[in-house]
């Protein structure tokens, strides 16, 4: 494999469970050193895709290559070079923090002394050194997640795959985790992650694909996606009404596009303040009017008509 070839390459990648098609012939490529994301709501096919890329779930159709190797025949060789952080922690709760890393390192054929030396570094990195000898079970969600990440790095992987890395964590714990992932990225580790949080995708990903119902509906950098699929600014209006849909007609034309959500109206425009003045000029009196920048949430809303997190 030559150096400019993508590290991960999928074309027509498909996953079926019985009659249900979870992943519908998607194409993507991940380059060495980049942080690549799959953004989409729950059930979009992100986890199925990740499991195929992680060589733990066989593809039903299409072609998948990692490091130029075929998962169907070279699974163990590929997995030896991957770090996997599954959506649900698979830590052994009855073992201690360090034992979890020792045991896992042995799965990669590392010797006992190698694993012990590596565990010391990893616990330092994951800020778990003080908890090394404590059992996993009483640790906080954020600590468990950091341990899972530390464990996934035991084999010094070239690609780190994270499925919903911060789901269920409080904001503080998420920021700690993002910081660790940034460090890894700066050190040249390729990151592949799924998320249904647009802020996580914006924070971490150089490039991402938006998935919905098993298909890729858009691809690009967060900035490009926002430029292509949304306006610069968004004006959010809340009114004292039961159903915001009834007001949609009255704000039509005040921006490039209007989205109606159950609790607010979104007016897409390049100048939110100007649109706000027009709203007042039209005699409308919203309870609140907020101008903000477009996010990936807006991109998703525009592409699918639905919100990411419901």
């Amino acid at each position: 494999m030559t150096s400019d070839e993508p590290l991960i390459h999928a074309s027509g990648l498909t996953k079926r469970f019985g009659d249900f098609e979870a992943v519908k012939a998607i194409d993507f490529a991940v380059q060495r050193g980049e942080a690549f994301g799959f953004l989409g709501p729950n059930g979009a096919g992100k986890t199925s895709t990740m499991r195929m890329v992680g060589c733990v779930s066989p593809a039903t159709g299409g072609e998948l290559r990692l490091f130029g190797l075929d998962p169907a025949t070279e699974g163990p060789r590929i997995r030896a070079r991957l770090g996997v952080v599954p959506q649900k922690d698979t830590l052994d709760e009855e073992l201690t923090v360090e034992e979890n890393i020792w045991v896992y390192g042995r799965y990669f054929g590392l010797s006992k002394p190698q694993v012990r030396a590596r565990a010391t570094e990893l616990l330092e990195f994951a800020q778990l050194t003080e908890r090394a000898r404590s059992k996993v079970e009483p640790l906080s969600g954020g600590m468990k997640r950091r341990l899972t990440i530390a464990r996934s790095l035991v084999n010094d992987p070239e690609v780190l795959m994270l499925d919903e890395p911060t789901t269920g964590l409080d904001p503080q714990a998420r920021h700690v985790l993002w910081d660790r992932l940034f460090r890894l990225k700066r050190q040249g580790v390729t990151l592949v992650l799924t998320t249904h949080y647009m802020d996580e995708a914006e924070q971490l990903c150089d490039r991402l694909v938006v998935m919905d119902h098993g298909e890729i509906v858009a691809e690009g950098s967060p900035r490009d996606l926002i430029r292509e699929h949304s306006t610069r600014e968004v004006l959010e209006l809340r009114f004292d009404v039961d159903d915001h849909a009834e007001l949609a007609g009255r704000v039509d034309g005040l921006g490039d596009r209007v989205e109606v959500l159950p609790d607010r109206l979104l007016i897409y425009t390049d100048d939110g303040d100007a649109a706000g003045e027009k709203v007042h000029a039209a005699g409308l009196e919203p309870l609140s009017a907020l101008v903000r920048r477009s996010t990936l949430e807006d991109v998703f809303l525009n592409l699918t008509g639905r919100t990411l997190v419901d």
Binding site: D92, E99, Y107, G109, L122, Q187
Partner: protein, 277 residues
């Protein structure tokens, strides 16, 4: 963020692990179960001692003295020497079923340790061999302790009983492997209580452990012949009483091996269907 550690990674120091041959990949799986065992080994070993001591006292000496005084033992053999080789085999069945049911389903469903393994170079066959190997070592440990305790009670009539160790481990495996296959098809643990109640208990009572099979109605005997426990009981008794019939023993061994191989293939299928989706 106080700490600012830089982790040596692929991009900085490349310390690629040595090639890891397929033939060694079961070993870390075995090592994992050993690590888990270390947390509870004291209690485990104590109970492995108490079990045979209780049976030897109750069945061998208590019931045995009654049998010996009223009917002169079984086939002229003191009841202690008759019954204990059978209980030795039955114990391997308990250990096998106990170690192969909840732990296997737990590693699939609850703690998901198998899933963690499969994200690494470890494959389904390695998981099976490593875990079954671990259970085999537990059966060997329990059997070894039982042999020692039995010797202290004078339960063995012959040194041939040492060969009962491998035969008993094989008997245990003939339960371990099918239970692995069964556990991999279960959604919850309800099936296990049925298994203990309707498979293990009848086998324990009616496989010639406590009385000769000819005491059973003729139509029930074939059931004992096809289930693994009778082969272990009969083989152990042969060895322990010092009158080994080698052809019989060969037959028992071959049958138990067949059960292990056939159910091993089923277990591999069941594991793949459950874990590789």
């Amino acid at each position: 963020m106080a700490a600012d550690p830089t982790l040596p990674t692929a991009a900085s120091t490349r310390n690629t692990p040595e090639p890891f041959p397929r033939s060694r990949r079961w070993q870390p799986v075995f090592a994992f179960w050993a690590t888990q065992y270390k947390r509870t080994w004291q209690g485990n070993v104590v109970s492995r001692f108490l079990m045979p001591v209780m049976f030897l006292l109750a069945m061998g000496l208590g019931l045995g003295s009654l049998v010996d005084s009223s009917s002169g033992g079984v086939d002229g053999m003191p009841y202690l020497q008759y019954v204990v080789p059978g209980i030795l085999a039955a114990q391997s069945m308990w250990v096998a079923m106990g170690e192969s049911s909840y732990t296997v389903l737990g590693a699939i469903r609850w703690q998901m340790q198998y899933h963690a393994m499969l994200a690494t170079p470890i494959g389904v066959a390695d998981i099976l061999i490593g875990h079954i190997g671990w259970v085999a070592s537990q059966i060997a440990l329990a059997t070894g302790i039982f042999l020692a305790v039995g010797a202290a009670f004078g339960a063995w009539a012959s040194w041939w009983v040492l060969l009962a160790l491998p035969l008993t481990v094989l008997t245990g495996l003939a339960f371990t492997v099918p239970v692995f296959a069964f556990a991999a098809t279960q959604e919850n643990d309800a099936g296990f209580s049925i298994m203990f109640r309707f498979v293990m208990t009848p086998l324990f009572l009616f496989s010639g452990t406590f009385f000769p099979l000819d005491q059973l109605p003729a139509f029930l005997r074939p059931i004992a012949w096809v289930t693994p426990l009778w082969h272990g009981v009969d083989g152990n008794r042969d060895l322990a009483t010092g009158s080994p019939d080698w052809l019989h023993l060969l037959g028992h061994t071959a049958y138990l091996l067949l059960v292990v191989v056939v159910t091993g293939w089923l277990a591999y299928k069941a594991f793949r269907r459950r874990l590789v989706v």
